[in-house]
Amino acid sequence: MNDVVQNADDRSGAVKAAGVSITDLRKSYGSNEVLKGISLEVKPGEVVCLIGPSGSGKSTLLRCVNLLEQPNVGSVHVGGFEATDPDVDIDKMRRKVGMVFQQFNLFPHLSALGNCTISQTKVLKRSQADASAVAMRNLERVGLGHLSDRFPDELSGGQQQRVAIARALSMDPELMLFDEPTSALDPETVGDVLAVMRNLAKEGMTMLVVTHEMGFAREVADRVVFMDGGVVVEEGVAEQVISAPTHARTKEFLRRVLDPTHIDIAE
């Protein structure tokens, strides 16, 4: 069941991919409604980039997909799971969903290899040898096979984020969530992380990516979704949303993000 299965998608994939379907999702913190009825479909193997100004609810939406936040209303389906079903086995559902955080959140007391094996051995009950083999394969996949013994504080930001991706991949997820994976990185290491993500997309992984990297979105994303104020304002083919947005708010946002004199906002 955890074997890497060839995907019968149009991509040259080596990944078993699941789709996501979000219906009328609402989330409030106290009286502050952060998500005001979001519906979003991501097909298996599709790459969707979420863009939008700070505070628009992008992180909250992503965190509702793997239930780090409990939505108030609406439903989330991931693969065969209804995540929002009160009886769902959350831990089983989360194994299908890899998450990559802005701040990496690597386990500092474990080596790169240990980060990638711990959940395999403790959750999937794989043997140490099997887990190590899977971990090494994924560390090599992100170009870090040679640094598997390093601890997180001995790695650069970009390397840490790639270990975090390898860690998520080691659980054989069918969907990957990325929350601004390059926002905390030095500019010169951003490219390495984006390259890994680009490869993952090519392999056919379903990806939901919050990012301000418009170049990446344009090149890799099948679709771009623009959120503002807790609603989806505009969505469509990446090239079209980024180059020819129809809504005023999207235009304004993209103008600020793409204008080099406003690079501080784009960070």
Partner: protein, 263 residues
Amino acid sequence: MAMTARQRARVSLYVQAGIFVVAMVALILATDWETISTSVFNFGKIGPMFPDIILVGLKNTLIYTALGFMVGLSGGLLLALMKLSSFPLYRWLATGYIEFFRGIPALLVFIAFGYGVPLAFGVSWNVTVVAMISLGMVAAAYIAETLRAGLQAVPKGQMEAARSLGMPQWRAMISIVIPQAFRIVLPPLTNEVILLTKDSSLIYVLGLTASQYELTKFGRDGISSLGAGLTPLLVAGAFYLVITIPLSLLARKFESRSARTKR
């Protein structure tokens, strides 16, 4: 005429040194050297304390402390987890326990478990068990607060990352959060051991047989039997330092190590 900053600093240094010299001279003049050498620093007569103060006293102090620490650490971890629990009753119980045992003298706990509980329930405990339970229950209260702070100092993202990898809450606690919390609390935990080492002397209230003597009891006995005044207590004190100073150094080492890994 105004002084420069450097001149002022030098004058301040001279004043401090002067105060120290005057204080030392006064102390030396006021001291009764005759009495001191017979009843405080009378090392000629302490021979009979050896080797038992080491083979029995030091050994028992270490045993009582180690057992108390084991109980204190497990109890403290349980209390810390209770204090962070989402179930209010657990939080109240833990808070009540911690406030109670931190608020009363450890001596009362020894008396309660040494005399009160055996009397009330008709059980008879040996001294080692009483020491283990009494020290452990007091230590648990202090260690609980230390561990709670340590658990809360582990960034929230660690739990989220672990849960995202499919770990259940308890597994994430055991494999990810608690190991990091222990690293954070290693220095304060070492200090708890130092306090515990000293508190183990309170076992004297129970009336010990010779094989149960720990360091302080050896010191007190020596006062009445050796005719060297307080010298035996000084010897006992020195053995406590033999235990606690290395622990202090260890704590400092942990501190500098965790400062380095945090960067």
